[in-house]
Symmetry: D3
Subunit: 141 residues, 6 copies
Amino acid sequence: MIELTRRATFSASHYYRNEAWSEEKNEEVFGRCARRNGHGHNYTLEVTVSGEADPVTGFVVDLKWLKDVIEDEVLADFDHRHLNLEVPEFAEKKLIPTTENIAIAAWNRLEPAVSKAGGARLSRVRVYETPEIFAEYRGEQ
Amino acid sequence: MIELTRRATFSASHYYRNEAWSEEKNEEVFGRCARRNGHGHNYTLEVTVSGEADPVTGFVVDLKWLKDVIEDEVLADFDHRHLNLEVPEFAEKKLIPTTENIAIAAWNRLEPAVSKAGGARLSRVRVYETPEIFAEYRGEQ
Amino acid sequence: MIELTRRATFSASHYYRNEAWSEEKNEEVFGRCARRNGHGHNYTLEVTVSGEADPVTGFVVDLKWLKDVIEDEVLADFDHRHLNLEVPEFAEKKLIPTTENIAIAAWNRLEPAVSKAGGARLSRVRVYETPEIFAEYRGEQ
Amino acid sequence: MIELTRRATFSASHYYRNEAWSEEKNEEVFGRCARRNGHGHNYTLEVTVSGEADPVTGFVVDLKWLKDVIEDEVLADFDHRHLNLEVPEFAEKKLIPTTENIAIAAWNRLEPAVSKAGGARLSRVRVYETPEIFAEYRGEQ
Amino acid sequence: MIELTRRATFSASHYYRNEAWSEEKNEEVFGRCARRNGHGHNYTLEVTVSGEADPVTGFVVDLKWLKDVIEDEVLADFDHRHLNLEVPEFAEKKLIPTTENIAIAAWNRLEPAVSKAGGARLSRVRVYETPEIFAEYRGEQ
Amino acid sequence: MIELTRRATFSASHYYRNEAWSEEKNEEVFGRCARRNGHGHNYTLEVTVSGEADPVTGFVVDLKWLKDVIEDEVLADFDHRHLNLEVPEFAEKKLIPTTENIAIAAWNRLEPAVSKAGGARLSRVRVYETPEIFAEYRGEQ
């Protein structure tokens, strides 16, 4: 077994707000992240799959295929979007798009596509909000 | 003469839209950057001053002072803000917050504060929108 | 379970010397790291906690709180200090502040504070001495 | 137990080709990586050993020794070489030097040298082909 | 006047050899860079244009256009190629593809395309062979 | 004319103190940088030379030669040293080793060696104290 990782980046807006709370409570809990107009980040998404290197191609998975999966399953919906307002996982469930929740959402989007392709399995998803902050999710274990 | 540079970062939202244009025209010119809800970036601001190193302290300027100037003049207004909606240079003049215009706005905020302090002059301002894209401004020359 | 990581940096001096050894023996074992006046590094400390994302806030832990814990428990004593001479773990026990021992010391300082807060547990501590060298500790297992 | 990691870099050429396939089939499977004259990368090799920090030196292993092991076992044969044509693991077995296979080859070269030295064991090998793509191998488990 | 810069990357092989010289002389002058099968790098190309920010769009040039120019004029011929054997500037003139000569070749390819478009002029081209080595060219001055 | 740059790194200790001042005055002016036992950094030194690319070799200067010059003229004295106590420019003249003064000292060491070799001239020296702070010197102009 060997792990293969590919990074991708996307730029998005978000805010941290609980609409059931007052403005004061939101500011107290979330600070400047609560501001109504939102702010944004260059996110880095790191997707790791694990499996055996194919004896003929030497690939765990084709990196071009993995790039397309990341593009189709995550970036097409997340890049140049306001996560709270436009991405279903957050918009419909009023779920706050913290780095943790973005990593879980990305896993839930990527895992079926990787599983369906066979051969390799999704091993971990890491999301950097800034170079100083990242969340890592390995699925329910 | 020697140059001294300090970097700072801020996270902000923006979009590229000309409100006098139709939605189609905005999308044609600005692509996904035109989307109404905005998107965001981790910006890096690089501020360079030039002068003589003080013979006693060895400083062109005190870096703690420079950090405070960057914080007070730029970050206090730009960080965790929507540039089009909340920052006067862009909001009031309907100026599009491209990397170029952010660099010019930062220069115009920083230059008077550096000049007033004496000793050193503002030499250049560089703004990175992503690690792959940056604008650099040296004032009107 | 999901992991959340925050990075911080500190600048410190150290040397590698065993005072029970001769100058020659110190130089033989530790090379230029043994020099009496010390040398220094910009260290990067990467602190990872694991837990469940809170269903209301979306946080494993509040990153502002984690930043304060890192500041109070580690940086307040390590930053802009000579590790061998001023930090108790090394100064009192004549323990050599290798990257490995710095990571263990940071873990031992951070673990009680994270445990006491409840909700999440300290999962790993990584210390970079340079971008090319790092140690990682996950506690006694 | 604590882990200690050292990074090294090497520059090499390679191509992805299966000589049993037609030019068309190679191009279909491997795209521009199949081109006959090869292309190249600055690879980063990250070698991690695990063990106890020696109570006297504070070392899991001497980093100078680890640097020499990486140089002697891997870089001496891989750096400034064409992997397909000059490195035995790939040249003799017609094995394609994908990032995955390079990581496995580096593990197989490093593991005996680390084991023979005693004290620490090889824990993982990570190879970056670019900052966006890396493979990680932990041996047969 | 303001400068706008965009980075791109390409992976290529090369060697440093003067075919008029003996093997010994090539090795003496160029060391391991002279090896016949070549080696490779992940190059970073940084292209800077200067001009006025357009009052309506806020652009010196459209970054999407600049990306296409870099792709069409440089990357299409340089990426995943052996510079000595496949790129005309080097192959036909037996010119050695040092970082310096790659920067000059990139300038000579980009300058007419930027000039023809009007509005901005090519200001500088920087090429990184590794993160530690780069050449910068500003045209004949 | 083209510029060629090579980076090198060194690790050193320093403090900011004026021995003619009281402890209080030192702390007031220099803050935690004034602490008596010193602290340290991983410095990055970026050395740029300019000249014509040699028509035969394609080199402005041989990078191996430039590496040796940097090693012999600067790193041999600066690396793994306490700048205030062990490096003559600072120790003998009680000059404070700020980033500015380190850049000037490096220039004054490198310039004669580059000039003596002929062909190229030293164009600029940049010193990073951290990734966020750097000084750049181009000689007396």
